[in-house]
Symmetry: C2
Subunit: 699 residues, 2 copies
């Protein structure tokens, strides 16, 4: 099989994914919906989500326009030095990356805001139909994201044959992910916290009470943060993992580029089969249904890639690295589950500690979150080590390529992962609709069960996504070296009389060390800025809720026909999210530029390393601690330690409120921050190499 | 000046430091003390502290005995391969290190438990005398610690002339610091939290009420955690910084060994002058008095080292690196102050957020803690970079040596730093004694003021200590390389046919990367284990307090002559602290061994790097967030946002309770964990080089 054929195969399977998405979309849309009240509320959520998307995409188009212009002028090399054609290709690839990701996000939001209604109504008829509406809705997103990702990468490679252009495409995906994930994360937690704080705590309203002005914003938040944001994030990781692998594959030559495409294509194919075949028995367990689809997909991938490796005579060692990566991904997912599952010791311990008051909820939650980083960190480290040991004998460049292929392996089943992940917010919304539409206790019980399965699966997929991002960025480090060296040869960059060659990043080199320290601080600052952003934004929304409660007559009493001004709250959440996101994003990018212009490529290597290490640590810590608190609260609410209203419950609510921005804003956004910074570095590689202070000083 | 003379000078100045300590001790002891009630309580605290020390030193002697035996058998190389004499010297140096540190700790505890009484009584006569008793008490500790440290290092070098033996001495200091700092940290927070939780919250007793069975344990805790623990920690850092610099200086040769001793000696001299000259005007500001002594000491160091460099013709470039390190240390101290001072924005913001409830106290405190890591991380990175740029032109090995000298510079004024730091717990105790002895409101107000200055200064010195530890461990990385290469030459270790030479640690090397990931996870797990240890131990003590309150007749009513069984609580805190500390310490050491035996010296390089980066991040984050919460509570208690008893105050108390183990147990213990792990690695260098799985596998 040659490269072109593999790219065409990728395009064909990507189209198949779109067809599957279309079929699932039709299936979900064709489900019953008759309840008028639910349709009304569903429409409000849909409109709110689209308001956010519109504003976000408008802000993005300005941001991306500026970035595109800068790329046109400077990348891969200043337009007055290098070739104008390359710069134009890079710019187009970048725009292409943003547009593909945006389209996938839009499709995801559309189906999610349909599927929630269907799932809610189906809940009156039993758990099976309700589950299938939620799952297939999520699967549309999964198929759309991975289909676009594979299609985009294959098209860029086919049209340009240039792996550097792929980095541009990947950077486009990252730019969008930054806005979608961090912006969406601020939106969703602003709404969630404000709705809870004023609604539940102050006014004593039940969850999802329609009199609460923030209630629609809260439901919109699930969609923009957890559906669109998560989709953009995984789109970003998937593209980056392929881009990094392809950059190194192209540098080695041989059948390796083909192999990357074949493996990624098989991954998507396995996800299509897994998604299409997913079923739940009547009265089955939704968590088991979700997990077993994941295991089936994993198995299909392992078998089909083995077959492909045999038929096309690829290197078995790389196969091993890739499958090992996937297995470790699954193992990491399972350990994450241990720390956040309410049937396991950590959550039980935090619940027990909550009986001594909120300080102990926080302390034990933080402690468990800190402990939970170990398996994933060790897992990523071991994967890299094994990939190296297995692939190094193949020759120069293969060790790094093996690592990148283990990342490709870990991310191969991402179509399935996204389906499972998007399922969560859909059924969460469905629960809200059942409440608001008064569909009865039985339906509420069913959606509660579906929702709880969503939370459990979410913990698994999050651990998975963070670790995969970690491995991916290591391969981006490899890609960065390739870029630097290619630039040095092309532009004849000399150091000490010979052409510069970057061998690696020695931490004993103080330039690297300097970068390491600064890079490690960035995720801490980034996540702090996002959390403070949620805090500020929530204060604005709380003020607005108070105003409506005071000024709108009849609202308090629940008078027939009086509705709050839901759109005002959505407006605040949207505008605030974008406003608070900018400083955090800019800080990360500016720090990269400062370090690069001071210390050159060596400092950037350290910077990226520090950023990956600290980013992984904080992302895992925050996501898992947040998940632990969330489930602790639910565990207590289900009647343990005094149940709702007890002192333990009050303490658990404090934990959950702290955990919300941890797990849904800061934690998962760090992924994106790492990728953005890595890609900025790779794209600026040549400029950092030739233009930096230390270099000038040392002359 | 030759090496021997510089060592003798060091010994002379060390003796001078002891003389100063003795003079200060006499001065403090000669202050008035007439109040019987205070003398009684003071005696209880003293006995309690000695109980802890006795148990700690007993446990330590078992631990150190085992370690000494292992050293005798295996280090620097297995006794049946290398020279028995070297192993004996190493073992003695190790024991020497533990004993010196233990003696300094004992002296510190003795004076602290005298000075607290004197400071309390003096408070009835005005702030000046009360301040001086506290400060000079702390200064005894400062002089004893740095005197022992310099004396020990000089003696080891003089007697053995072997820098590897110095690493043994340093490891002895680290072993003790691990027990003293982490064990003391668990002790102090166990007592503090339990006393507050049952006493203040449950029973409504005022702070330091003598009916509270945990009240003496709480006061003992200040001494064992903050005086002895902190002293052992800084003893450890000071020794390690000198050891690392000397290992590299010896490798380079020339006047460099002499220079290290001269600089360290001048640092101690400057501290002696600073301490002896420290004064406070009647009605002066205690914070200013403490800070101005620090600035004076810094200036004296800068001037005297310049003079020495000129007279003895040392390298000016190294002078610059050293002084730059010290300046950055001061700058880091000042920025830390910004994040924890109640007159600055962060504390005010957290106080404001507290009006919305405890979740917001936690979220904003964590966010500020995360932001606060930036200046220190950048500061350490910049110091390393500048030291490199300035010293690299001097020749091979000078870049790393320059970095180690900037650490020596940063730690040069540690005598002054310890004096300021030990002042805090002494006046905190004095405040308790004033309360328990009923010395009147005026005296209470004075000790409150002194206590608040102690808290502010503590924040500064903590930032200083953590950053200095960071720089020191980088130079330990350099020392590790020197050790590996010396071993390879001595034992003719071949790789690919030539003698192995470790050049550095390239993060692109998957062995290094594997170590990096595991190493980065360790501080997270270590601090989690300590915090969980506090939690478990506090539960035991809470049960004991309940028992006494229930069983001892007349205690509740405050009947004349009825006293609680204070020693039971001290017993629980002591035993529990040592029990909870073991798993955390063993985990860190075992992880080092596992990584070393799997991946060899390259993996260990990554391991140490990851450990330093993540350790610095968590240590700074935890210490500063804890400091912010502490001062937020005090700020609200002084009448803001509703003052004591308000909702904001309740929220702030939750923050403070979370912050306690953050800032006094986990955060500052991470320092010690890093040093222990670094020294284990350096000592095991040869064994890891020749015996590891990957090495065997790759053959």
């Amino acid at each position: 099989m040659n490269e072109l054929v593999s790219q065409i195969a990728a395009i064909v399977v990507a189209v198949l994914a779109f067809a599957t998405a279309f079929w699932l979309y039709r299936w979900v849309s064709s489900q019953d919906s008759s309840n008028k009240r639910i349709a009304e509320v569903g429409q409000l959520i849909k409109d709110g989500a689209n308001t956010f998307l519109r504003k976000e995409y408008t802000a993005l188009s300005v941001f991306c326009g500026v970035v595109a212009l800068l790329i046109l002028l400077f990348l891969p090399s200043p337009i007055w030095i290098g070739s104008a054609k390359k710069n134009i290709i890079m710019t187009l690839a970048y725009i292409f990356g943003t547009v593909f990701s945006a389209i996938a996000g839009k499709i995801g939001i559309d189906i999610a805001t349909i599927a929630n209604i269907k799932s809610a109504e189906a809940a009156t008829k039993g758990i099976e139909k309700s589950f299938m509406s939620g799952f297939r809705g999520g699967a549309v997103m999964g198929m759309a994201v991975v289909g676009s990702s594979l299609l985009g990468v294959a098209l860029v490679m086919w049209l340009t044959g240039d792996t550097t252009a792929l980095l541009g495409f990947s950077f486009g995906a990252s730019s969008l992910a930054l806005f979608a994930k961090a912006g969406g994360g601020i939106f969703t937690k602003t709404a969630d916290i404000s709705a809870d704080l004023v609604g539940k705590v102050e006014l004593g309203l039940p969850e999802d009470d329609p009199r609460n002005p923030a209630v629609i914003a809260d439901n919109v938040g699930d969609n923009v943060g957890d559906v669109a944001g998560m989709g953009a994030d995984l789109f970003d990781s998937h593209v980056a993992s392929m881009a990094a692998a392809l950059v190194m594959a192209a540098a080695i030559g041989g059948a390796n580029v083909t192999m990357v495409f074949v493996y990624a294509t098989i991954g998507l194919l396995a996800s299509i089969i897994g998604v299409a075949g997913a079923k739940m028995k009547p009265d089955g367990d939704p968590t088991r249904a979700l997990n077993s689809s994941t295991y089936v997909t994993t198995a299909i991938f392992a078998v089909l890639t083995a077959l492909a490796t045999w038929v096309f005579d690829f290197e078995w060692r790389i196969y091993l690295a890739s499958v090992f990566g996937l297995l470790i991904g699954v193992v990491i997912g399972i350990t994450t589950d241990y720390y956040t599952n309410d049937e396991k010791k950590p959550v039980r311990d935090v619940a027990q500690a909550s009986t001594s008051g909120p300080a102990f909820t926080i302390l034990s939650g933080i402690s468990n979150g800190l402990l939970s980083v170990l398996p994933a960190m060790v897992g990523v480290g071991v994967t890299a080590l094994v990939a190296y040991l297995v692939c190094d004998p193949l020759g120069e460049g293969y060790a790094m390529f093996g690592i990148s292929m283990s990342a490709v392996g870990m991310l191969s089943i991402v179509g399935m992962i996204i389906s499972n992940d998007a399922y969560g917010p859909i059924v969460d919304n469905a629960r809200g609709l059942v409440e608001m539409g008064n569909l009865g206790d039985e339906a509420l019980e069913i959606t509660d069960k579906l929702d709880s399965a969503g939370n459990t699966v979410k913990a698994v997929t999050k651990g998975f996504a963070i670790s995969a991002a970690g491995l991916t960025v290591i391969s981006l480090l490899g890609a960065f070296i390739s870029e630097v060296n290619a630039f040095a040869i092309e532009h004849n960059v000399l150091r000490d009389g010979v052409i510069f060659k970057l061998e690696g990043f020695d931490v004993i080199n103080p330039l690297v060390f300097f970068g390491l320290m600064v890079g490690a601080a960035i995720p801490a600052v980034f996540s702090a800025l996002l959390m403070l952003g949620v805090d500020k934004n929530a204060q604005r929304m709380v003020a607005e809720i108070h105003r409506q409660w005071r000024e709108i007559k009849g609202l308090k009493e629940g008078k027939e026909g009086v509705v709050p001004e839901y759109d005002k709250c959505i407006e605040i959440a949207t505008t605030g999210a974008l406003r608070e996101l900018i400083p955090a994003g800019l800080m990360a990018i500016i720090a990269t530029l400062v370090v690069g212009f001071i210390g050159g490529v060596e400092a950037i290597g350290g910077f990226l390393t520090g950023n990956i290490v600290s980013g992984l640590l904080f992302a895992l810590f925050m996501s898992n601690a947040g998940g632990t608190w969330d489930n602790t609260k639910k565990y207590i609410e289900s009647g343990n330690h005094g149940g709702k209203g007890s002192e333990a419950h009050k303490a658990a609510v404090v934990g959950d409120t702290v955990g919300d921005p941890f797990k849904d804003t800061a934690g998962p956004s760090i992924n994106t921050q790492i990728t953005v910074v890595s890609l900025v570095s790779s794209l600026m590689a040549g400029i950092f190499l030739t233009t930096n202070l230390v270099h000038i000083f040392m002359k």
